[in-house]
Every structure is written in C-alpha cells, then in structure tokens.
Amino acid sequence: MRKAELGLQFVFFLCALISIVTTIGIVVILFKETIMFFKDVSLWDFLTDSEWTPLFTNKHFGIQPLVAGTFVTSAIALLFAIPMGLLIAVYLSEYASDRTRRILKPILEILAGIPTVVYGYFALLFVTPWLQKFIPDLAGFNALSPGLVLGVMILPLISSLSEDAIYSVPSSLKEAGYALGATKLRVCFNVVVLAAMPGIIAACILAMSRAIGETMLVAIAAGQMPNLTLNPLEGMETITAYIVQVSLGDTPTGTLEYRTIFAVGTVLFLATLFLNTISYQIRKRFIQY
C-alpha cells in the first residue's frame, strides 16, 4: 500500500517534470539549429544586413526587415489596446455595477477566445478594404489592419489583468483620497491606477509578448514580403509569418533555408522569454496588495 502511494507520487512528479523537459527541448532544438545556422552566416551579417532574402538566389540574411515587421504590427496593437484596455479596466472595477460587470466581462473574453486564423480572415477581407476607403494609399497587404485587429484581440488580456490589479488596491487608499477632498475620477487615476501600476505594467508586458508571438493574423493580413520600413501602410513580413512561409513550402530539412526558421525562432523565443520573465518578476516583487 505504502509502495503504491509512493509510486503514484512519482508518476505525478514525472507529469510535472514534463513541463521542464518541454522547455529544455525547446532550448536545445532552437540552439542546436541556430548554431548550425551561424556556421554559414555571420552573426554580424544577421544583425546588420538590411535585407532578408534566404529563399532567393542572391541570399541575404539580415533579420532587420522581419524585426521591423514584428515591431510595427505589435506597436500598433499596443498603442491601440493599452489605453482602451486601461479605461475599460478602470470602468469595470470602479464604476460598473456588479451586474454590468458580470455581463460585460464574458463578452469581452470572447474576443480572446476567437481563433487567430479567423482574425486573419477578418483583417484581410474586411478591415483592409474598409480602411482603404479612408486611406487610398493602403496596400492590400499592410501592417495597419492586422495591427489594429491584433489590438482588439489582446484587449481582453490587458483589461482583465489590469482590472485584477486595480481591484486589489486596498480601499483604505481610496478612502484616504476621498478624505483629502478628491473627486472619484481623481481618486481613480491619481491613487488607484498609480497604486496598481506594477500590475498594469506586468499586464502590458504580457500583452506585448503575446503580440510579437502572434502568427496567423499577421501571416494572412500583413503579407509575406520582408520590408525594412516603419510605414504601416505597406506590406511587411513578421518573424512568425516568415516561419509559416517556409513551412508551407517544400524546403528540405538540413539545408540553410530550413535552419533560418530556427534562427529567427530563437530570436522570437528569447524576446518572449525576456518579456514573460520581466512580467513575472514584476508581479512577484512589486505587487504589494
């Protein structure tokens, strides 16, 4: 009996260990292929060359165009989603009645549950043609439309995590604000939001990590042409979209072209790992309430 119990405990331990094995697997595989990649391409070229054309005969391996595509789409999404998410969070936690909150929150969360390929369809075939009515210069593939749709997609993530942070600010702080004669709006923004700031920042960083890792939406609507520009009206290729592009083709395994997806994948993984870790540490250390 005792032995069986210990055996079970060991089985459960193995289950938990799978998560560590997964991480080790990701790191080993990405680094192995990336090291092979850098045997043929110098790190200097990778970082400084301004062209990314591994699939052409005249090969260039500069990651800048892909980073630019990832940066522009994510920046649009965050600039759009952070103010809206924060406003919704303040409203839901400080102003909305219990009933209103119980209705609004699940509807907002539906936005996070929609598959990203659906957002891709929506951005390419609905939002882009609609935007073209106002911006005639907008290309069929562009960074603006998927950026905005991506913003709507990460809105629930920002609003619900920020709301949790705002909700946990102790009421004694608010009461102190009221006692000084501040209005409700003043208390919300000058006391509550400031006190909840670490949680809000952690939420925004997590949203940033989600945005740069988003794949299908940008692969469908931003196009698959590497383009070193900050102009959101042009088509761009993100890191993730490039991986999709290569995966759809018949690139033989073990070639340099095949290794490029692991090299850019490593850049993506390190970026999200960095952001996730900062977000986690902020939540662990600075959140006092």
């Binding site: 794949t215 995966s247 790992l273």
Partner: protein, 301 residues
C-alpha cells in the same frame, strides 16, 4: 501669500465645477468608445462571417473533400482531422496536466525545484505557439520519425495546452478547503485516498473548465500545425495514428490565402463551423466558472 495657497483648493468656483464635469464626461465618453470598439468589432466580425458563409453551409459542404472548384469543395477531411486531433490531444494532455497539478499542489515541497517548475509553467504558457511547432517538427516529426502524422500533431498540441490545463487545475485544487483534507486524514485515509475521494471530486468542475478552455484553444490553433507540415490538401480520412491529416483552421487558412472569391466564401463557411465549436466551448467554460463562483461563495466556509 500663504493664505491664498491654503485657501485655493477649498474654493469651488464655477470654472472648477465645469472642469470636473467635463473631465468626468470625457472619461465616460472614452470608456464608451473603447467598449464600443471591442464589442463592435466582435459583432461586425460575426456578422461579416455569417453574411458571407452561412448560405454556403449545406450537407455537400460538410461531407465533401477539398477540391479545385470552390463550389465542390468541402470540409470533411478537415473536420474529421480536427476531431481526431483534439481527441488524441486530450487523451495525452488531460491526465498529464491533472497529474502535474496534483503534484504541485498536494505533494511538492516548497523548495527551489518547485519554484523553478512554477516559473517554467508560467513561461511556457506565454511562449508563442509557433515555437511549439518548431519543437514538434524537430522532436516528433524528425527525431521520432513520426512524419507529418496525426500523433505528431496531437503530441505537439498536447505540450501547447498543458500549461492551460495545469494552471486551471492547480487553482481549482488550491480552492478545496484544508479542513476537508484534515477530516479525511482523521478518518484514517491515506494521502492518495484523500486526493481521490475528497479533493478531486470537489475540484472537478474547475478542472473541467480548464480542460474545456484547453480544447477550445487547441481547436483554433493553426500555426504549430503548419510548422509541423500538416497538409493543406487531404482527400482521405486519417485511419491510423501515423496518417497524414489536415485540420479545420488549416483548411480555412488555405482558402483565405487563395485569390478566388469562391474560396473566400468557403473560408467564411469553414469559420462559421469553427466559431460555433470554439464559442460554444468558451460559453460552457464561462458558465461553469460563474456557476462555481456562486456555489463556492454560498457554501464553502
């Protein structure tokens, strides 16, 4: 001079009141705009997909294989592929996820290994899905020589949704009051008997919510399957674990990427089927969570 600075905040001039009302009005207006954009997008998205694709859904669409001609194409292989894939993914991910959650909540000591496991799971939950695709490609497709098979897809997908299930199951197990465990020990039950007969039954609805959210995530995931090399044109049904396969979101992606309007209609119709699946599951999960919150606040402690 001192009197004036002291007195200022306490005077209520007309201009001051106006500024206050204006700022409240602006705040309300901006909140309304934000909510409108969020909900408006949802409505417009659903409407645009329905108006484009709803009329395309018929028996022929559900029971045909992909085709060069949009009006003859259907989602049979994609639908069946998705169902097999999700079934297999769950068979792998659910026991492992619940096992990991039981270990972390009930057995693990508070030490550095446990701390590392926690950070690691939080980080895996935030790792982009396409990275899992690269892992699956090297580990399952190439390393284990499973080729572009159903089982390789299911194992990749299982690793992807494992953090979702673990996090939900842990929270649910943590909410089970300590008194229940102590009562069970007092009656002479062993640790496993306590977990099996008392903790898991109480935690079950919460675990189920996590599992449903995991399924809903897995149904819509496209990127890792494309990286694995799931096929976009499959005119047969998978008949064993090592069969090549396609899945609903991949078929939709394939149709969206084509220039012809007829395929866009097919994509919209496929999206309607996909959305019905994911939204129903999400609604079920949200309902369960709401139901649980009400139940636990009225009964527990």
């Amino acid at each position: 001079m001192t009197t004036s600075t002291l007195a200022k905040p306490l005077t209520f001039t007309g201009r001051n009141m106006f500024a206050r009302r204006l700022s409240v009005f602006i705040f309300g207006f901006l909140v309304a705009v934000s909510l409108f954009i969020g909900f408006g997008t949802l409505l417009v998205l659903v409407w645009s997909v329905l108006s484009e694709g709803l009329t395309r859904i018929d028996w022929q669409f559900l029971t045909s294989y992909p085709s060069r001609k949009p009006e003859q194409a259907g989602i049979l292989s994609a639908l069946v592929g998705s169902i097999y894939l999700i079934g297999l993914t769950m068979i792998i991910a659910v026991p492992v996820g619940i096992g990991a959650a039981i270990y972390l909540e009930e057995y693990a000591a508070k030490n550095r290994l446990t701390n590392l496991l926690e950070i690691n799971i939080a980080n895996l939950a935030g790792t982009p899905s396409i990275i899992y695709g690269l892992l699956g490609l090297e580990l399952f497709v190439r390393g284990m020589m499973l080729e572009r098979s159903l089982i390789a897809g299911a194992m990749t997908m299982a690793l992807l949704i494992l953090p979702v299930i673990i996090i939900a199951a842990r929270e649910s197990i943590r909410r089970v009051p300590g008194i229940i465990r102590e009562a069970s020990y007092a009656l002479g039950a062993t640790k496993w008997q306590t977990i099996r007969d008392n903790v898991l039954p109480i935690a079950f609805p919460g675990i189920l919510t996590g599992v449903i959210l995991g399924i809903s995530r897995a149904i819509g995931e496209t990127a890792p399957l494309i990286t694995l090399g799931a096929l976009t044109y499959v005119a047969f049904l998978p008949d064993n674990l090592k069969s090549p396969f396609t899945a609903l979101p991949i078929q939709i992606f394939n149709w969206v990427s084509r220039p012809q309007k007829g395929f866009h209609v097919n994509a919209a119709a496929g999206i309607v089927v996909l959305l019905v699946g994911t939204l129903l599951l999400n609604a079920l999960a949200l309902y369960l969570r709401d139901y649980l919150q009400k139940k636990s606040s009225s009964r527990m402690l």
